[in-house]
Amino acid sequence: MKNILRKQKTFNLLLAGTFIALSAGFILSGYFYYVNYRKEYNSNIAHQLSVISDLKVNELVRWRKERMWDAVFFLRNTEFSVLAKKYLADTKDTHDGNRLKIMIGKMFNPEEYDAIFLLDTKFEQKIVVCEGADRTFSYISQRSMDSIKAGVVVFEDFYYNAQSKKIYLKILIPIMDASDNKTVIGTIALRIDPEKYLYPFIQRWPSASKSGETLLIRREGDDVVYLNQLRFNNEIPLNLRIGIKENNNLPAVKAVIVKDGIVEGKDYRGVDVMAEVGVVPDSPWFIVTKMDISEVYSSFNERIWILVVTILLLVMSASAFIGFVAKQNKVKNLQVKLDSEKTLRSTEEYLSITLNSIGDGVISTDAEGRVAHINPVAEKLCGWSLTEAKGKPLLEVFNIVNAETRQIVVNPVTRVLETDGIIGMANHTVLLSKDGNEYQIADSAAPIKDDAGKTHGVVLVFSDITEKYVMEEVLRESEERFRTIIESTGEGIGFVNPQEQFDFANGAAEEIFGVESGQLVGKNLHQFVSDEQFNLVQRESSARAQGDKSVYELEIIQPGGEKRNIIVTAVPKRDIENGFVGTYGVFRDITERKVAEEHLKKSKEKYQGYFEIGSIGICVTSPEKGWVEVNDRLCQMLGYTKEELMALTWVELTHPDDIDSDLELFNQVVSGKRDAYELDKRFVRKDGTTVHTTLSVTCQRNPDGSVHQFLASLLDITERKRTEEALRESEKKYRSFYNNTPVMLHSINSQGVLNSVSEYWLTTLGYERDEVIGKKSSEFLTEASRRYANETVLPEFMKRGFCNNIEYQFVKKNGQIIDTLLTAVSEYDEKGNIVRSIAVTIDITLRKQMEKSLKESEKFLKETQTIAELGTYSMDITTGVWRSSQILDSIFGIDAEYDKSINGWSSIIHPEWQKIMLEYFYQEVIGKKTKFDKEYKIIRKSDQSARWVHGVGELKFDEQQQPVMMVGTIKDITERKHLAEALQESEQKFRTLFENMTEGVALHEMIYDGGKAIDYRIIDVNAAYEKHTGLSQANARGLLASELYKTLTPPYFNEYASVADTGIPYAFETYYPPLDRHFHIGIISPAKGSFATIFEDITDRKRKEKELQEKNAELERFTYTVSHDLKSPLITIKGFSGGLLKDLARGRHDRFDSDLKRIADAANKMHGLLEDLLELSRIGRIINPPSEIALDILAQEVITLLSGPISNGNTTVAIQAGLPLVHADRHRLFEVLQNLIENALKFMEDQPEPRIDIGMREKGDERIFFVRDNGKGIDSRYHETIFGLFNKLDASSKGSGIGLALARRIIEVHGGRIWVESEGYKKGSTFNFTLPSIQHLRKEKLS
């Protein structure tokens, strides 16, 4: 019993601890969640803003780059330049004008540009293409003009056109003169209307936001200027400008100062905002991406609200749970279920709750006194369970006897029925429990009456009475018992105070001392002993004061003079305060032992009566520890029969732990040290249980002082101990339940007047008990609740006897109103009339508030969905039927009547996606039990437009893990998709363009080391790059230029670095030796640090140019020849003929002959020259079909022809044997050899052994033929001029000077080349020439 109670206590403590720990846990987790969430939230918002900002910045950069590309393509267009030049020179030529218009229209996407102007050098507009709002072209700044004149593309930022009252941007592209690429011949102006693309783009916000806004700004001196249309301000863009110094809290200002990052401040409206600010690279623009703080935190606050509510809910459910467990444990059948959804409770339940809640035993009977109900306390006290007891006569269950008489007391039911009123029960009533326990009880009983006043039952309420009473009773009993024993004993017993004066003495003592009854008290011991003997007494006493008891002999003299020898057994009495306060003395007259024996006999008889007193076990035991006599009570206490007991010793029955202490005392008595002792000891009963007793032992001695027998009384204190504990627990339990159960309990009588309320009821409403008892319960309700109670609830309650979960509003003493749920049951009398009713009221204010805040958070959720345009749905997987939110309906473009089934969904899906989505749904989601998460296309029912949506859904499963529900959201993401598609398209467009350009394009990124450009990396190259350079696209990408081109310093590094740094486009022509190619390279820098090269292979052009130059030079030479060499003889002829005429007139004849000869020679020379010229010109046109010629044979023929001059000069001519076959015009090749050999012969000068060698050597795969002489040689200065027409080194030498010119012309016509080598004067000369091989010629022909 004690154990159980202790366990209960521990359990309660444990529960309380658990509750505190849980609550603390929830609150702490909530707090940490809050802190973390706030951090995460902030970084989320910042991230979101910066993502949006980045998106915009990237798009702006891309847009600007695109515009610059447009400009650069234009810059490089020679065709256009030529046409523009022509047109600008003559603007009346409408044909050219139209061609230009078409050309411009083709080159620029008219979607991008509002208007395109062609301007002349004076910046006057000449052509307007794709007219925008107006065709007026506004003023261009001097700076822009200067830049254009320097050939630089100008990007004019946002400006206001006062004429059209609009804002534009403008790109000015200089048109370069195609011939020199330097002179600017005009300008193309591309005007951009920002309202077409830029503004909408900047204003676009990727999610629904009330305050999200992007601002584009630039700095102008000490102001920031807003460039785009503001969301919350109708000012024309550019009109709103704000000073930097005065407004440094403005995000826009922070943007130009901080440049990058998250800032908080007030925006132009003065509203607190959070903003991401950034720079748009390569532009004067800054970007501010901002959101109102209030919006930023609205969702946050919402979350925090939900969090708080959740924690409250958790704490409350914890308390409810703990409370539930506690109650469950305390009072088995009390189950107060707070959940309103499950509040169907039976009357019985409520009744039992109430009854069970009472700490007193309650038994109700019918009019016949048969038990109708018995509560748990009563069950415990009576030892009967409700089911056992029901219907039994009261007294069988409620077995009460008078504590003293052990007589059955009058049946209280009978008494109640007799008196027809409430009765208190007689004192000293003992309830005999069925299980053998006894309880002192205090009780009362009352009739249960119906309305007619007829009693139809009785309620008995009884409680275990207090410990104090039991103690008193026990003490009282004990005192009486001992007094009786002492008074009746044959031993002289007295109490002597420290002054040796008798305070008490029994009859036997009076007899021993020889005084009349009552005469010994007050007498001093000294009066009865000699002085000598008194000394002994005093010695003994003082020793006793320190020590234990003493036994000594004493000779006394009776007042009558008779001497007596007595044995004194003195036991000191001490109390805590005063120490030694006296001595119990047992006096034995050893003079008259027989008298003593007589006394014993007498007292034995006397005891006999007491042996039958039930509550005390009494026994006589032998010095051998055996039982001599035992009473029934003792047998009962120890659980043995008298016979069984007699066969045993008390030692055998003593609890092992108590044997030693008992034996010690026992031995002291045996040894004569003491005559009596008392102790609490335990016995082990026959059934093995332990019984606690208080044992009192006294001994009777034989005249020799040995122990005759022991007299002992045993009091069973087991029940006392148990009762004490039970009483304490019961009281505590009752009080604790009634007062601590967090439920308001009250009871009213049939008039509705309160007759009891619980502590909690009072605390909740804030009243004192005496303020409420006796008042009507409805007085504590609000007006409305009172009316509801009186008009509806009470009449119904009277009829039915119970009411469930009535929502009442109670008014607290302080006026505050609380929401409650009240459930009440009533007690009936036998006629079925309500006697009183007991109500349980639950404070649901908090729950109401919770419901309210739940509703609010639901509303928040709903609003959130609306704002996010998030549609929600739930689908029953088994039927395929779904329900959708209004937003989802509007996303799908359907109404409430729409067929919301799988088919209905499927018909919303875009035809291209239907199969995919159904497969996805059935196989992926349902089949694999995964989350639904897919972006797909739908056809919106309302307008049949194709939309993109993002659907997400979670499956819910039944116990068999089969999906039964899917709940999720759908969001319209069309805009986002379009943005992405547009981006992709644009990217595609440029990539295609890039890949298909005939110019090689390479994109690079400059690599800097400590701010100094050191190398560059190839980011991307196009197909033409591969074609031009022979380096594969795949290999080139990602490589460093130094790696790719295998050079220490990458090619054209300085030019590139300069463009990447300054951003000023640059173009040049170059010869690149590693490839033996000429290139035109244009460099532009789309962003600082990066650059693109656009190059064109101009090798062919260069070669043609060179060829042309050569041709021109030849032509010039020819003209020169005509003007100089042919004029020369003419002058001679005219001059001398003039002279002749003059001489003739003067009659001077001496010079006639010579002058005439001069004239004739000049005429001949002129004829020769003309012949040669004719010949020369013929070579280019008339060339015979080539044939295979053996060169040695041909050379031999030439030598044969020139055999005359050769033999004249004694010249040796050697021809190398086995010269190869050549493919040439035989006749012409003969002429070449002839010229060369003749030349050699002519310039032998004074060579004593003139020699000419004709041969061939090979150099690589080239065959070089030569005619070598050992003549006078040719100064290196003339190695080239000798091949010129009519050029002669020696004016006096023979010939016209056309020979070598002819030879060169012939060789060149054959595709070969001719040149001279000579080391100088008298070192001889070698004329070399090449002829292409036959194979080469064939190849040429084929191509």
């Binding site: 060499d1125 004029k1127 020369s1128 002058i1131 005219k1134 001059g1135 002279g1139 000049a1162 020696d1290 004016a1291």
Partner: protein
């Protein structure tokens, strides 16, 4: 016009033209001495007093050089460049007298500091007139620095 004998150096590869020039100059008696060389090399040798022209009294530095452009061995323009870059003789007026009226020739001649450029007239009278004027202008009218 002081009493010093006036010398003209004629650099002309065409002997007929040389004869014509000499005849006209003599006719008008503009010079005391006319030296004639036939190619550029000879012209430079003469000017620098090299080889067979080392005798300065026989081949004095001329007061005027008439220089044809199309010359064997060393081109007239080269001769001009050498004369004009030699400080001992760069002040001597050089008149280019040639058949060519090519733009390039004219430009190059002046580039090399020719004092005058004259195209030989085909017509005899004009030819005579030109030489007369030329002689008088450079030798009589023109103020020389020495």
């Amino acid at each position: 016009m002081n009493g010093d004998p006036l010398t003209i150096l004629l650099v002309e590869d065409n002997p007929d033209h040389a004869e014509l020039v000499k005849r006209n100059l003599e006719e008008f008696q503009v010079a005391n001495q006319i030296s004639h060389v036939e190619d550029g090399e000879a012209a430079l040798d003469y000017m620098k007093g090299r080889g067979r022209y080392s005798n300065r009294s026989k081949y004095p530095l001329p007061d005027l050089i008439l220089l044809d452009l199309r010359l064997p061995r060393i081109d007239g323009l080269e001769v001009l460049r050498e004369i004009k870059s030699d400080t001992t003789m760069h002040m001597i007026p050089v008149v280019i007298l040639t058949t060519s009226d090519g733009e390039r020739d004219v430009a190059m001649a002046y580039e090399y500091h020719a004092n005058s450029y004259v195209t030989k007239p085909v017509d005899f009278d004009n030819f005579a007139m030109l030489l007369k004027d030329l002689g008088f202008y450079w030798l009589a009218w023109n103020k020389r620095p020495w």
